[in-house]
Assembly symmetry: C2
Homo-oligomer: 184 residues x 2
């Protein structure tokens, strides 16, 4: 697929993201996505076979950090960028995919999520280990620290749809992770 | 309502808990609860006006700690009991109410959950402050610590329906909370 095709796929994912955040997974149809993107049915199906494929690709888009570690950027700088992205997500209630994720997960996609979860955990563990090696991070248990970072975030993300968080809640998260890895 | 009435209400909540954990909130009917409890329709409605009332009462049942603080029990002992209860819950995948909670929350019960969340937070803050006062706990920011405890747990609980956690994941949670409040 050429560059134009890639751009169209990206546009589809971006528009579909908004729909999934609004309605959850099951209520969104390919017709909704046609309407939102302005693509014809035939046009949309040239790129994606169904909402499952679009949704699983959205979830698989990752914040890539392995390149930054290879380039030997400072672990603290990578951490701060990731925390900044997370802070923005926590505060962006409207764009939470957690309802959609939850519905999708409960449709029996256990393996997909186990895999996704493992990847996210490995990504964090690799950053934490890298930071410990360079002496920037404290000598924490990388797996234990990665789980805190992931599940604390998931809990916040889940509840941010329901409860209005103020900036302080996001700030507490960021501070907790920083204190665990860097400060004190 | 007399003691027998209270016992019946408790039985209803207990059986309904199992149904909500299995099916979520919306799929459970009063008829299901009649079948599970063996009560007649008239019998059930004498105690509860609908599934909403039963579910919100289940969620409002709390692990009471104010009595233990008043009796001046050791903060560390109260903490350990709470962590033990949480550990058991994390591992008890079948009894997770998180799908039901999520459905119920997304039906527009924001105020109810904001209130529930505030209460849980206050409970933890009171224990943490008490532990700091008695010199048993480290001088953490009580609100920040309470949020970690709550949302990290919620994230785990949400995912425990989807991903099979091993005992280590629960152990990491317990260890993180202990390290934050007591050790080191």
């Amino acid at each position: 697929m050429g560059e134009k095709g890639e751009r169209t796929r990206e546009k589809i994912r971006c528009k579909a993201y908004g729909l999934f955040a609004e309605k959850g997974f099951q209520a969104v149809t390919m017709t909704d996505i046609c309407e939102r993107t302005g693509l014809s049915r035939g046009g949309l199906y040239r790129y994606y076979s169904g909402t499952e494929q679009i949704f699983s690709e959205i979830l698989s888009e990752e914040y890539v950090i392995s390149d930054r570690i290879e380039r030997k950027e400072r672990a603290g700088a990578i951490l701060e960028d990731m925390l900044e992205a997370i802070r923005a997500e926590i505060l962006d209630k409207e764009r939470s995919l957690s309802l959609a994720i939850y519905e999708y997960a409960n449709l029996g996609n256990e393996d997909f999520f186990t895999d996704l979860n493992e990847k996210a955990k490995k990504r964090w563990i690799s950053l934490i280990q890298y930071g410990i090696e360079t002496g920037e991070f404290k000598k924490v248990d990388p797996e234990q620290a990665a789980e805190l970072i992931l599940y604390y975030y998931q809990g916040l993300r889940m509840w941010s749809r329901v409860i209005s968080f103020d900036g302080q809640t996001a700030e507490h998260y960021v501070r907790t992770v920083r204190q665990m890895l860097v400060e004190g």
